[in-house]
Amino acid sequence: MPIIFISGLPFGGGERLARMLAQKLGYDYLSRDDVVARSNECGIPVGKLEVAMVKKPAVQERMARLRDRYLAVATDSICEKAAQGDLVYYGRAGHHLLPGVTHVMRVRVVPESGQRLESVMQRLKLGREKAEKFIQDIDNDIRAWVHFVHGWEMDDPRRYDFVVNLENVSLENAAVALCGIAELPDFKPTPASRKAMEERLLQSRARIKLALDERTAGADLTVRSAEGILTITYMPRQSGVASVIPEVVGDIPGCTEIRCTMAGTNILWVQERFDPDAESFRQVNEIARRWGAAVELLGYSASGTAEVGGPEPAVVPGRASTKAYDGGIEDDVPEKLSESERTFRRTLEALVREGRSGGGQTVCGGREKILSSVNPSIPYSLVVVGDLFLQKPAAARTRMARELSAWIGHHIKAPVISVSELGARLRFTPAQALKIIASLAVVALVYVVIFLRQGPVLDILGGGYHKSHPWAAPLLVAVVAPLVAALYGQVAGALLKLIKLE
């Protein structure tokens, strides 16, 4: 049965609806209050975090760390409870915590405004005006929280499966209707969805353990989980934590392997089929080596079917899925990997051998699935977009890949480059060499002229000529300074590229 997420606003009837639903269905009930209480026990000052996020949204390092830990505790609480049985969760945007888990039913509750106002007036003993102001402020704060913590707008209807408007339907009837809807096959758990939830649980547990252990609490770590493998990256300046990480997270149930990668930054590589023997792998690996970056693989197929992760019989049509390598294959079934799955694994293993692995996962469906599978707290320096939409004709493939690249760049806020462009940038072609030589020649000419003809130049800049023609100095400065900076900058960049010190 699904995990039912009821998303609502305080005093808006959402909590009562969630409790009623849990009672009718015989499900467990968990609320945001429980998560907050557990977070506080784990040393996460949620109140302080809320104020910081809502009033001062610029995320500082410490706040970003606290936010990640809070989200890990929330994910862990939900997954743990859901693993024990069926669950109704009431909160703000809990459904964003389980991307890739398809057996979730996301319900938004629109409160009945009159009743809500009365409720606030009675329970908080406020006058009408103050109660209205209170509701307005708290709604704005919660919207801001969802925006800054989850990166989505709370009022976006695309984030929900159903919207219950309590202005038009009673709580009782809404609960009855939702009970029926929860039985629909669309929300039934699939092996792939269960697997995705296990991965989320493993990832959140690792994050919590690393946060609570004093040896790793202060480190900037990113944690990803796929197929029981934990991939943890740490900053070069915190290389001391590497040896401690396996001790801290090694005993988490379900963890089969731990991979620690030292990375100053991260590169996201989105492609439909990966191949460690391809030229593109060498190029991405080369840029990662130069930058000291970890490469995260994201196998993406827009079709939502076979190509990336192989056959996935359990996927419900119309609902995209995230899965780890063998999506849909249960543990007790012998592994049958498709060719694309095998090459995906081989690529990941090749990255591990190179010491550049940032983990990997595959995702099928609409392009928003890319965003939901990417950890928003990871600052990517580059997104490499490889071959996508392979089933489309060449022209459509190019256009769609270009549009997707622009869309990714807009949402992830990192430079996006295609694999072919990356190759061109890495190679030192004769045309580039010619360009650099030409730039160098122009720069040299400017320096020779300026330094061999210092007298006339200084005359223009501040001598007699300047007195009679004051416009000449700004003109000379406006032409020479940017020209030299741009051309010499190009030459310096090329030199660094040649000695592989970008």
């Binding site: 620690c260 320096y447 007699g464 100095a473 400065v477 940017p482 030299v484 900076a485 030199l495």
Partner: protein, 363 residues
């Protein structure tokens, strides 16, 4: 001091040219390391080499303009530039720059004319602003570096909160930074940034902290936006100083030679040095630069005839100031280079030894 063209430009010898390139290189390293323009080192460095203060500022702001032009493109690609915010700040920053150029030019032109060094008034004024502003900035950085628990805590947000509570209308929304700001907060910050950029070439030392502490925007966006702003402020300042006849293009070109290489080394250093060490190194270098400038001040006071001592001592003051400045810059640059080389060597070792561990088995 050997000068050309009406006491404005100095005679450039090979050794001085090499020292200017070195200034550019060290300034570039510090600039890449700190994320500022490096003017706090290059401007007084040029003054120590005999360049008058106003020409040092004019030449450096021209250099900054060119460098920002290259750097802001990268920040723009990373989504770190809030162009709307930059436009609002620029409106008053340009006024601040014009004001600074006028004051500097007036002080330069208004040299005593009775035997005193013509640029002494402007030099003293520039030095005083430099010492006042950078002493405060340096101390603040050192305090942050030594404060217990400062690592990763991020800057204080008290000012942002206070100003937010005042709710001064009109309030403008900036989607990239994701903040709402009062116009009455934006305008003075722009003015102060422009004024300092125009006076001593270190607008970023006011602009970036103001964006972080007063506006409450993310550090990366503050740095990116400041760099974007620096293109226009630098261009406007460079053209203004050039119009007044105070840009020595030779110095600008020599600075480019060193700084455009050094900035990459410094930027690499940021990746491998801890945040606390960055603040500590930067704070110490800034404070030493301030002391170095302070040592040179008696020379300007004597030239203005405000104090009297044997002019032969000028050499001692100037020499000590230069030695102190270069010692600070070189030791700072060496410390950064040492860390870069050490980290590079370590990374080469670690590169192939990725830790792969299976719970319950040997790693």
């Amino acid at each position: 001091m050997h000068v050309l063209f009406g006491d404005v430009f100095m005679q450039l010898t090979v050794s001085k040219a090499l020292l200017v390139i070195l200034l550019g290189f060290i300034g570039g390293i510090l600039s890449g390391f700190i994320g500022s323009g490096g003017a706090f080192f290059m401007t007084p460095g040029m003054m120590n080499l005999g360049v008058s203060g106003v020409v040092a500022v004019g030449s450096n702001i021209t250099h900054k303009f060119g460098k920002a032009l290259v750097g802001s493109k990268k920040h723009s690609q990373m989504g770190n530039v809030d162009k709307k915010l930059a436009i609002f700040l620029l409106a008053t920053a340009l006024v601040g720059i014009r004001l600074a150029v006028l004051i500097n030019s007036m002080l330069f032109e208004g040299g005593t004319g009775h035997g005193a060094g013509k640029s002494a008034g402007a030099d003293l004024y520039i030095s005083a602003i430099f010492i006042g502003v950078l002493f405060f900035v340096g101390l603040h950085m050192l305090r942050d570096a030594v404060r217990k628990g400062a690592e990763g805590e991020g800057p204080s947000r008290r000012i942002t909160e206070y100003l937010g509570r005042l709710n001064l209308k009109p309030v403008i929304r900036f989607p990239v930074s994701d903040v709402e700001l009062s116009l009455w907060v934006l305008l003075p910050v722009g003015l102060a940034t422009g004024y300092l950029a125009g006076t001593i070439g270190v607008g970023g030392f006011i602009g970036v902290p103001a964006m972080i502490y007063v506006f409450g925007i993310p550090t990366a966006v503050a740095t990116g936006t400041e760099l974007y702003l620096a293109v226009y402020m630098g261009a406007f300042g460079a053209l203004n100083y050039a119009w007044e006849g105070f840009v020595d293009l030779r110095l600008t070109l020599l600075l480019f030679l060193g700084s455009l290489i050094g900035v990459h080394v410094g930027a690499y250093g940021v990746k491998v040095v801890s945040e606390r060490l960055i603040r500590l190194t930067t704070g110490l270098i800034i404070i030493l630069c301030v002391f170095s400038r302070g040592v040179a001040v008696p020379v300007y006071l004597r030239e203005l005839k405000w104090i009297h001592y044997n002019p032969a001592w000028d050499k001692l003051f100037n020499g000590s100031s230069t030695v102190l400045l270069f010692a600070a810059g070189i030791s700072g640059a060496l410390a950064i280079l040492y860390n870069v080389i050490k980290a590079h060597a370590e990374r080469r070792k670690i590169h192939t030894t990725l830790l792969v561990s299976r719970p319950g088995s040997e790693t």
